[in-house]
């Protein structure tokens, strides 16, 4: 199967030992397999979202006539239309677009850090790792704002039917929690918290790893080691976080 047979003794397979058939170090290979398993975890969450969403009715009218209701699944762009410092303006998906841009940019600075590592350029690795950390922290700040806005809600409350003390009542609800929300069927809010929360936790741990790499670079650990492969491994993780966001962006915000 493999074409890297140049390094092997003739008559022996690359799988007979002594060489790395996949051409990468153990740590990098295990990072790939971890990310594959993580991809399955995220797919589980996003596909369950698809399952529950497709079992709910969609809003049939024109987008302009859309109002929040428990009777159908909300149109995402009608829920996510707020931008910091621009209260009262309807700017659908603008803020989440900015967040996407920030994460893509931090992915670019990460890959530039990897490139600098290949050249043993410590100063450049430091610079690009710092930019990557700043990008990650900015994204987390944006997400904190997004969550706060989702939890606090809009200016005008929605009338929501709720089952209290054995009977159905209608009450005013603003914002969202895991129990009740103003935007639509309860699973919508629950999936928002679980999917963006699980992704946000990945970003958070990614920033921690990035900081560790930055620290080790500054203290010269990798320079003494003679290679910057740790930057590549953590870089893989960071790109994966970006990759997941691309899917969350499509399946939660756009579709």
């Amino acid at each position: 199967m493999s074409h890297s047979s140049a390094a092997t003794v003739s008559g022996k397979s690359v799988w007979d030992g002594g060489v790395s058939p996949m051409g990468v170090s153990y740590g990098k290979l295990m990072m790939w397999f971890f990310l594959l398993s993580d991809a399955f975890t995220f797919s589980g969450l996003l596909i369950t979202y698809g399952l529950v969403r497709s079992s709910h009715p969609t809003f049939e009218g024109l987008p302009d006539a859309f109002v929040f209701s428990k009777e159908y699944w909300p149109i995402p762009e009608k829920v996510f239309e707020a931008v910091p410092f621009l209260h009262g303006y309807s700017l659908p998906l603008v803020f989440v677009g900015i967040m996407t841009f920030i994460l893509i940019m931090s992915s670019v600075t990460m890959v530039l850090a990897v490139e600098a590592g290949h050249r043993m350029d410590r100063k450049a690795v430091e610079k690009w790792m710092l930019w990557t950390i700043i990008g990650g922290l900015t994204f987390l700040g944006c997400q904190a704002w997004e969550w706060t806005h989702f939890i606090v809600g809009t200016d005008t409350p929605t009338m929501v039917k709720d089952f209290v003390n054995g009977q159905w009542i209608t009450k005013e609800v603003t914002g969202a929690s895991l129990k009740i929300n103003q935007y639509g069927p309860q699973p919508f809010a629950d999936f928002f918290f679980f999917i963006t929360g699980f992704h946000g936790f990945h970003v958070f741990s990614g920033v921690m790893f990035n900081f560790l790499i930055y620290y080790n670079t500054v203290t010269g650990v990798y320079e003494r080691r003679g290679h910057y492969e740790m930057v590549e491994k953590v870089g893989l993780y960071w790109h994966f976080v970006d990759l997941v966001w691309v899917f969350v962006f499509t399946f939660f915000y756009l579709v």
């Binding site: 199967m1 493999s2 074409h3 890297s4 058939p21 996949m22 051409g23 990468v24 290979l29 790939w32 594959l36 991809a39 399955f40 797919s43 596909i47 698809g50 399952l51 529950v52 969403r53 497709s54 079992s55 709910h56 009715p57 969609t58 009777e71 149109i75 762009e77 659908p92 998906l93 677009g97 996407t100 841009f101 893509i104 940019m105 992915s107 670019v108 890959v111 530039l112 490139e115 600098a116 290949h118 050249r119 043993m120 350029d121 410590r122 069927p185 320079e223 003494r224 003679g226 870089g235 893989l236 790109h239 994966f240 970006d242 990759l243 691309v246 899917f247 499509t250 756009l254 579709v255």
Partner: protein
């Protein structure tokens, strides 16, 4: 303590201009595709065609991130397929569950 002898001799190579330019090009593609998605989001009416375009563009973006940023395109073929083939299960899972959901309405 002989301090100097412990200091590693490091040769710093100059930046690979071509490689860096390529990385920025990939970033520009990702930005352009995202911008295009925004245009689609506000000009097309909701329906299977719109969803199909979004899914397709998302896969293109994923291809660029995994292939170029994560360098998978340039890895040994056996690693490339070891990562890619298992994701086929995800596609099947998506199709199966979304179909299942549409067949069991909650209301």
């Amino acid at each position: 303590m002989a301090h100097h002898s412990n200091e590693p001799q490091v040769t710093v190579l100059p930046p690979d201009k071509e490689k860096i330019k390529k990385l920025w090009t990939v970033a520009a593609y990702l930005g352009a595709i995202t911008a295009f998605e925004f245009i689609i989001a506000f000009t097309m009416t909701h329906g299977p065609a719109k969803t199909a375009i979004f899914v397709l563009l998302t896969i293109v973006k994923a291809g660029y991130i995994v292939g170029e940023f994560m360098h998978l395109r340039y890895e040994v073929k056996v690693l490339f397929w070891a990562i890619l083939i298992p994701t086929l299960f995800i596609i099947w899972m998506l199709v199966a569950f979304v179909y299942e959901g549409s067949q069991m309405p909650v209301f």
